[in-house]
Symmetry: C2
Subunit: 245 residues, 2 copies
C-alpha cells in the first residue's frame, strides 16, 4: 500500500464544488470514479480544500491509498487521459503513509480576480467577477494592509461555520491592477468558510467608496458577519497553490 | 437613417464563426436577431472580420443601418441585455453613412496565445493552445523578425483563398512569455485567410527546433502553403482590436 499525492487543477464552472454529493457532478466524485477505473481498485481521495461550487483551482491537493504498481509520477499522465478536460492533474508523487493534507501545517494562496471595465469581456467571464463600478485601487490596498496579520476573522466567516476558533494567520493580502484586471492575492495558514470571498467582497466595497479603509479594524473587532461586505461571487476565486510546511 | 458602428467582443468557443449560416449559431446571426428584436426593424450587420469557428474577439467591428431614435451610444447597453453572455458590445457610435469596415484602411491586432507547460491548465484551455513541447522563445523571436514587413505571404495563406494579391504589410510580430503563457502579437494591414494561425503554427515549429529561424525567408519565397508550418488551432487566436486609419 502506498499513499499518493495529486496536485489537482480544475475549472469549477460546471461542478457542484469539490465535495462528493449524490446525483451531482463534483471534483471529488470525478476523481474517485476515474482513479478507481484506472487502478482497478476502489479509490477514495482526501482533499486538502473542499472548494465551493464554481470556485476554480490551479493547485488543490488530493491524496489516496493504492496498491498499484504504476509508478507514482506516471499516475498524473495516465489519469489525465481519463479525466474530462476541465480537470487536470499537475503532479503525482508518493508521500508518507501518515500524511493527511488537512491535518498538517500548510500555507495556501488564493487569487480573487475582478474584471473592471464599462462592459463585460466574454473571454474573461468564467474566471473573473465583472463590475463596471469605479474601483479605487489605492483605497483597496490600504484596506488590504489591515487584513494581513493574525486576527480573529469571525466577521469574515459565513455564519454556518463549524470552526472552533476563528483566529487565522494571513501572511499577505496584495491588490494589483493590470489593465482591466484587478487581482487580490491572499496567502495564509488556513482560512475560514468563505473567508477569501468575504475579504474580496469587503475590498470591493472599499474600492467603491462605501467602506473606508480605516474601517477595517472596526469590522474585525465586531466579530460579526454582518459588519463585513458581501460574499463575492465564486467564479472570481481560484485556489492557486498549497505549500506544506 | 443612420449608420452605427459596434465594437464586438466574443468567446468563439460555442459558435460556428462570424458569418451567418443556416441552422448554425454564428456571431453575425445572433447580432442580426438581437438587433432586429431590439430596434423592431430588419437589421443586417456588416462585419469587419469574418472570424473562423472557435476564434475569439475583443474588438471585432460590425456596422448596420437603422432608423431608431435610440441614441447611438446607448445601443451597446440595450443590446447587451439581449445578447448571450459570450457576446458583449464594447462600444456603439454613429459613423458616416458611407463607412464600410472592409473597404477602408485599417490596422488589426491579433494575439495567438500558447499555454506551454508539462500539463494543460483547465482555466486556460478555452483561450490558449496547449503544448507540452519545449519551446525556445529566442528562436521564435528571431523568426518573427523575418515575418514583419511587407511580403508576399502566399505560403501563409490557406489554399482556398479568393485574394487577388497575396502581398500584405505586417507592422509587428512580437513574441513574449509570462510564466507558462506565450503570446504572439501580430499587427498589420489586412491578413490573408488563416494567415495568423499559419504564422503561429510556423513559429511553433521554430520554437520546437523543427524549422530554423533563418529558414523563414525561404518559406516566404516559396509562395507555397506546404512550405510553412501547420495552421495552429482556432482556440488560441483572439482578434484584439481594429484601428481605422
Amino acid at each position: 500500500m502506498k499513499r499518493i499525492l495529486l496536485v489537482v487543477a480544475y475549472d469549477g464552472t460546471n461542478y457542484h464544488g469539490w465535495q462528493i454529493q449524490q446525483n451531482k457532478e463534483t471534483i471529488e466524485g470525478v476523481l474517485n470514479r476515474c482513479l478507481s477505473a484506472l487502478l482497478r481498485e476502489e479509490i477514495q481521495v482526501i482533499g486538502a480544500s473542499r472548494t465551493d461550487a464554481g470556485v476554480h483551482a490551479r493547485g488543490n491537493i488530493a491524496v489516496f491509498d493504492t496498491q498499484t504498481r504504476i509508478s507514482a509520477d506516471k499516475i498524473a499522465y495516465a489519469l489525465n487521459v481519463r479525466l474530462p478536460e476541465d480537470i487536470r492533474i499537475q503532479e503525482s508523487k508518493e508521500v508518507d503513509g501518515a500524511f493527511h493534507p488537512r491535518h498538517c501545517d500548510s500555507r495556501k494562496t488564493y487569487e480573487y480576480r475582478i474584471y473592471n471595465a464599462p462592459f463585460a469581456m466574454p473571454t474573461e467571464r468564467l474566471y473573473t467577477y465583472f463590475t463596471y463600478a469605479r474601483l479605487d485601487i489605492e483605497r483597496m490596498r490600504a484596506a488590504a494592509a489591515y487584513l494581513a496579520g493574525t486576527h480573529d476573522f469571525k466577521s469574515f466567516c459565513s455564519v454556518d461555520t463549524q470552526a472552533q476558533s476563528t483566529v487565522r494567520q494571513v501572511d499577505e493580502v496584495e491588490v494589483s491592477r493590470q489593465g482591466q484586471l484587478i487581482t487580490i492575492r491572499v496567502t495564509g495558514r488556513g482560512f475560514l468558510y468563505n473567508m477569501v470571498r468575504i475579504m474580496a467582497g469587503t475590498l470591493l466595497e472599499v474600492g467603491r467608496g462605501r467602506i473606508e479603509p480605516e474601517g477595517i479594524p472596526r469590522i474585525l473587532e465586531a466579530r460579526n458577519r454582518s459588519a463585513a461586505g458581501p460574499t463575492a461571487p465564486a467564479c472570481g476565486l481560484t485556489l492557486m497553490k498549497y505549500e506544506f510546511l
